[in-house]
Structure formats: C-alpha cells, structure tokens
C-alpha cells in the first residue's frame, strides 16, 4: 500500500484547521488573552497548526460550562448515555483512517499502529463503557427484616482530566469514556505537545455531545493545567504523566480534599525464561516479537518493556536473535504503512533519550545495536528519529532504573526464578511486566510475585478495555480500563431505610 499523503496536502484524507480555539460549552471560544502557540509535527519539525494558549480565565469559563451541563447530563438514563457513547464509536469507526492519519501526523507514530491499535482500541473503549454502564446495578442489603440499605451510583459532577502526548486520542478516550458513561461533565487539558488530534476528533463527533458535557482547554501545564488541577470546582482530577507533577496534583487536590487518579509510568521488566528457547517454533517467534515490543510507539509507552531479563541458559542465543529481530525494524515516514517506527514526539524528548544513551555508555553499558539519532534526510530532515537501541548492562545502571521513554531496552541476565523476581522488583515503579515461559506454573508464580499492576503473560502490549490497568509503587494510584473504572468516577449513595413503625427505644 502506498503512503498516506501529509494532512492538508493534495490527496490527503484529512486536514487540520490552521488554528484551534478552546472547545467550551459546545462552541469554539478564543483564548481570553488572545495568545496562540505553534504545533509542530515530529515528522519533520514543521508547525502545521496553531493552538489556543489557555490561562486560568479560560479554565474558569470551561468549568462554568461544565457545571451548567453536569446536572442534566447526570440525570440522563444509562441507556441514553450508552447510546451516545455507541454513536461516538460508530462515527469514529466511519472515520477511522482519517483519525489514524491525524494522530500519526501529530505524534510521529507509525500509521500502521494507529490503524491497528490506537483508533480501534479507542472505538472499542466507548463501546465497552456503553455496555458496562447499561449492565451496572446498584445494590441492596437486607439489614434486618424491616431495614434495607440501598446503594446507588451517582456521578461525581465535573471532573478534570489531563491527557499525555503519547496516545493523544486513545488516552483521552481512556479517561473520557468511563467519566461520560458515569454521567460526569468533563474539562480536558490535552498535552501541549499533541494538542490538535482531539480537535480533529471533535470535528467528527461534536454534534453527538450535549453542549458543556465535554470541554477542551488547551495550553501549557503551568498556565492551563495548574489552574484546572488546583481548582476547587472539580470533583476529581485524573492525570497521566510523571512523578513530580503527580505529586503536585495530589498536593493541590489535598487542599480541597478531592480524589485523584494518577498513572505515572514504569520501568517494566520483560522476563524470558530458558524454556522459551527449547523449540524454534511459533512461540519462540512470538517471544522474540515480545522482546522487540520495546520499540512500539517509539518506546513512548508507560509500560514500555524497557528492561529485558534473560535467563543465562539461553542468554546469548536469545539475545543474538533479539538483536537480529530489532535490526529488521523498518524506520521511516510515519504515514507509510510499511513503517514500524516513526519519530519521537518532540525535540526535548529526543534530547532526553540521547542524554540517556550518553550516561548509559559512561556507566559501561554495551550498545548491541542502535545507540544514536537517526538522520533520515529528505523530507524527514528535521524530524526527531532515534535508532532502536539495545543496551547490555547491570540493573543498577541509570538506564535500567529510569524511564527513558524512547526505543531503548536495557538487557541483563538472571540465574533462576528468585533472581529474576529480585531483579524485576528492583525498581521504584510497578506498572507493567512481561513473563515468557512454556511452563504454566512458572508463569503463574512469576506473575504473582512481580510487584506490578499488569503482568502480561506470554504476550505484551495488549490493551483490551476489559482488563484493569494501573500501577503499584511509584507508578500511580487507581486504575484505568475495566468496569471497575466506573467506581473512580462515581459516588456511592446509601439510603438506609427503616420500614418498621416501632421506635428504637433510646429516648
């Protein structure tokens, strides 16, 4: 298949507007201070649209709109809300290719991933929560023959959601779908690195949403994110990002006694036991792909399997095969369906990755492949490309301990089960992990022993809506996905009812 044309060029299947304002109360509203910022594509570093530079005034206006909309929205029936979520999904499905191209252009990720993963998962997420809210029931408990405790689910009201840049549409949908299903109105602040994708999404679906139920305020964290996260007018803050900002959001929320959910990343171990290499079959091939998953989305995934732990019995042969598989990764124009790895999302992200390759070398890690910026030239000159990189070293090196958020995996060996678990858990984080073995007992014991919220077992980087996702340790608080997510966006109302005419007898 040929390459998709760049958005807005001849033959393109989608185009961005030249400028986006804030989406507030069902209409576009210019920023109070009249300022905009340029939004470059990582594909070639060139700006392609400008974005409203929001401030506290804009956040207040969005909160006004959300508070105006929340009561009526919260009273709609579950069937009505589910109907809207399903229509959102249908509209996205009809425009899946255009959404995939839009997200690829803004983020730099290959369109083969947005076509196969980001957009289909986002569509399914709306459908999942449409189903979950229809099937959700309250409860009743018979306290005694004349006393009943009824439990109702009620929406929180107006919630704030701060979206990361690595999956601009999917991460927005992860937060939007449960919040809307539960009956909340939302104010969203997209990442300043990827502020435009959600506006293209809105151009497709805005007519399906009652005004004020979804509001989008763009801008920088310090100017727009902070007033949103610290507002006493939000009932909850959901954030995906890093630890220091996560702490700040908790700190702000504590001042108003508001709950938060935080997803703060990881340094996920991917463990390959000796028996993986006991046959050269489909499973062995799958395990090698599982190793190479560190390059998915250019490594810009909170659960990137960025530490590969390989048992010493097959260490060298498996690692050689893994290097070989990694070197087959096709790097190129993100809108070419043959491209497997595209551009890093921003220049500072590129610089940070290069700084880690530097300290990794200084600490004595050996570069088995990659290890440098990729200068692709031509129309991709100026883009932010890094060669898929395998570093071999020790688990106490910085490149084994900090999230690089690039296509970089740090590899070391282990001697047996206990050593594997010890290394896997020797990290501040606990978001994801991978376990690869042909032995079901080993897989189960390893999965239970690893301190991480999700342990992919003989698979990796699958994100079905019906599986809970979230972190242990410094990786965050709360979960995303799964119907349990509704609890994060609902209050519990208990009506404790006595049907007895008799007094208690105290007074």
């Amino acid at each position: 298949m040929t390459r998709y044309a760049n958005p807005g060029s001849d033959g393109a299947i989608m185009a961005y507007e030249s400028r986006y304002d804030h989406w507030i109360g069902g209409e576009y509203v210019p920023p109070a201070k009249g300022q905009y910022f340029e939004n470059p594509t990582p594909v070639n570093g060139q700006p392609f649209t400008s974005i409203a530079r929001g401030t506290a005034e804009d956040v207040e206006r969005a909160l006004d709109a959300a508070h105006a909309a929340a009561p009526a929205w919260g009273r709609t029936s579950a069937a009505e809300r589910a109907g809207i979520l399903n229509k959102l999904a249908d509209r996205m499905e009809e425009n899946a290719e255009a959404l995939a191209v839009a997200e690829s252009w803004e983020n730099g990720k290959p369109v083969r991933e947005t076509l196969a993963a980001d957009i289909p998962l986002a569509i399914d997420h709306f459908r999942y929560f449409a189903g979950a809210i229809r099937a959700q029931e309250g409860g009743l408990a018979e306290i005694d023959s004349d006393t009943v405790a009824y439990h109702f689910h009620e929406p929180l009201g107006v919630v704030a959601q701060i979206i990361p840049w690595n999956f601009p549409i999917l991460m927005a949908v992860w937060k939007l779908a449960p919040a809307l299903a539960a009956g909340n109105a939302v104010v969203i602040k997209p990442a300043e690195q990827t502020p435009a994708s959600i506006h293209f999404w809105l151009s497709l679906v805005a007519d399906l949403l009652p005004p004020g139920v979804v509001n989008v305020v763009n801008g920088f964290g310090v100017e727009a994110g902070k007033p949103l996260a610290s507002s006493p007018r939000v009932a909850k803050v959901a954030f995906t990002g890093e630890t220091t900002t996560g702490r700040l959001i908790m700190q702000y929320a504590s001042q108003h006694l508001k709950p938060v959910t935080l997803e703060l990343g990881g340094k996920s171990p991917n463990i390959f036991f000796d028996d993986v290499s006991s046959a050269d079959d489909d499973f062995y091939d799958k395990a090698l792909e599982g190793f190479t998953m560190f390059a998915l989305n250019q490594g810009e995934v909170c659960t990137c399997p960025s530490r590969a732990l390989i048992q010493r019995g097959h260490y060298r042969e498996f690692l050689d095969a893994a290097v070989n598989r990694t070197e087959k990764i096709v790097q190129g124009h993100p809108l070419d369906p043959a491209t497997m790895i595209g551009a890093q999302a921003s220049n500072d992200q590129l610089e940070k990755i290069l700084s880690y390759l530097d300290i990794g070398r200084q600490e004595g890690a050996e570069v088995l492949t990659g290890g440098e910026r990729a200068e692709l030239g031509g129309e991709l000159a100026g883009g932010y490309y890094v060669r898929p990189t395998i570093l071999e070293g020790r688990n106490d090196m910085r490149v084994f301990q900090e999230e690089i958020f690039g296509p970089v995996v740090a590899v070391t060996g282990f001697d047996g089960f206990d050593d594997a678990i010890s290394l896997a858990n020797d990290t501040l984080y606990g978001l994801g992990a991978g376990v690869w073995t042909r032995d079901g007992s080993t897989a189960y014991r390893a999965g239970r022993a690893i301190q991480a919220g999700r342990v992919w077992t003989n698979c990796y980087h699958a994100y079905p809506a019906h599986a809970a996702f979230g972190g242990y340790k410094s990786s965050g608080i709360g979960r995303e996905n799964h119907k349990m997510m509704l609890d994060h966006y609902q209050q519990t109302k208990n009506l404790l009812v006595s049907y007895s005419p008799k007094k208690v007898g105290f007074f």
Binding site: T243, D348, E402
Partner: protein
C-alpha cells in the same frame, strides 16, 4: 556554596533561563521528576510550590549569577539512591513542555546531562 565537589551544576544557558524566570516568577526551585512522558526531567517551580519533605533530598544548591538566593535542586530520596553515583548538569534545549514546569511556555525545556562522579569527588561528598 562551598568549594568542594558538587553533585549538580548548570550551563550558562540554564543560568540565563533561571535569571529570566526569576525575574518573572520570583525565587524558583527544581525537582527532578521520574516516570513516564515528561519524567526523567527536571521541573522548575516557584520556590515552595512543591512541598518537599522527608522523602526528598536536596541534591545541591545552584549559585546563579544575578540571582541573590541559591536555587535548590531536589529529588525524591529513593530516586537519589539510584542516581547518587552520577553528577548532574542542568541544561536547556528547545522543546515543548511539560508538566507544570515554568519554562515550557518559552519554547524551551530544562534537561539533565549526566556523568559519573570520580572517586575523588565521591570521597569529598
């Protein structure tokens, strides 16, 4: 500031940006972030914006020409345990954010460059 070895220093470009931010926002502080997205990067806040506590280490106090007060550079203690063998240099690159760091709207981003501390430096620290 003593004359012994330090754990953290800064480039002239970083010093210039701190002077600029100091002029707009008043005294500032840094906290080294970890984790995903914009993690593994230093965050710059108005002094005292992030409440530090027992779980944090003051890695160093940066002396910046033209800024009266030392600029504190903090890190969570558990992260410091895994970084303590390295020397950090605060630098600036063109970039886009993020978190709530003060410099993001300027189109630049603070960045940490690292090297191993020498045996002599470790002795003196």
């Amino acid at each position: 500031m003593g004359t012994g070895p330090s754990r953290v220093t800064l480039t002239p470009a970083a010093a210039q940006l701190i002077r600029q931010l100091r002029g707009v926002h008043g005294a500032v502080m840094f906290h080294q972030s970890g984790g995903c997205c914009d993690g593994s990067a230093p965050m710059c806040f108005p002094e005292g914006e992030l409440v530090t506590g027992e779980g944090d280490v003051l890695v160093g106090e940066l002396a910046v020409d033209g800024v009266d007060e030392p600029v504190g550079f903090w890190m969570s203690a558990e992260q410091f345990e895994r970084w303590r063998h390295t020397h950090l240099t605060l630098d600036v690159v063109p970039g886009r954010g993020s978190g709530f760091s003060l410099e993001a709207p300027e189109g630049v981003r603070f960045l940490i460059r690292s090297r191993l501390l020498t045996a002599e430096e470790l002795e003196g620290l």
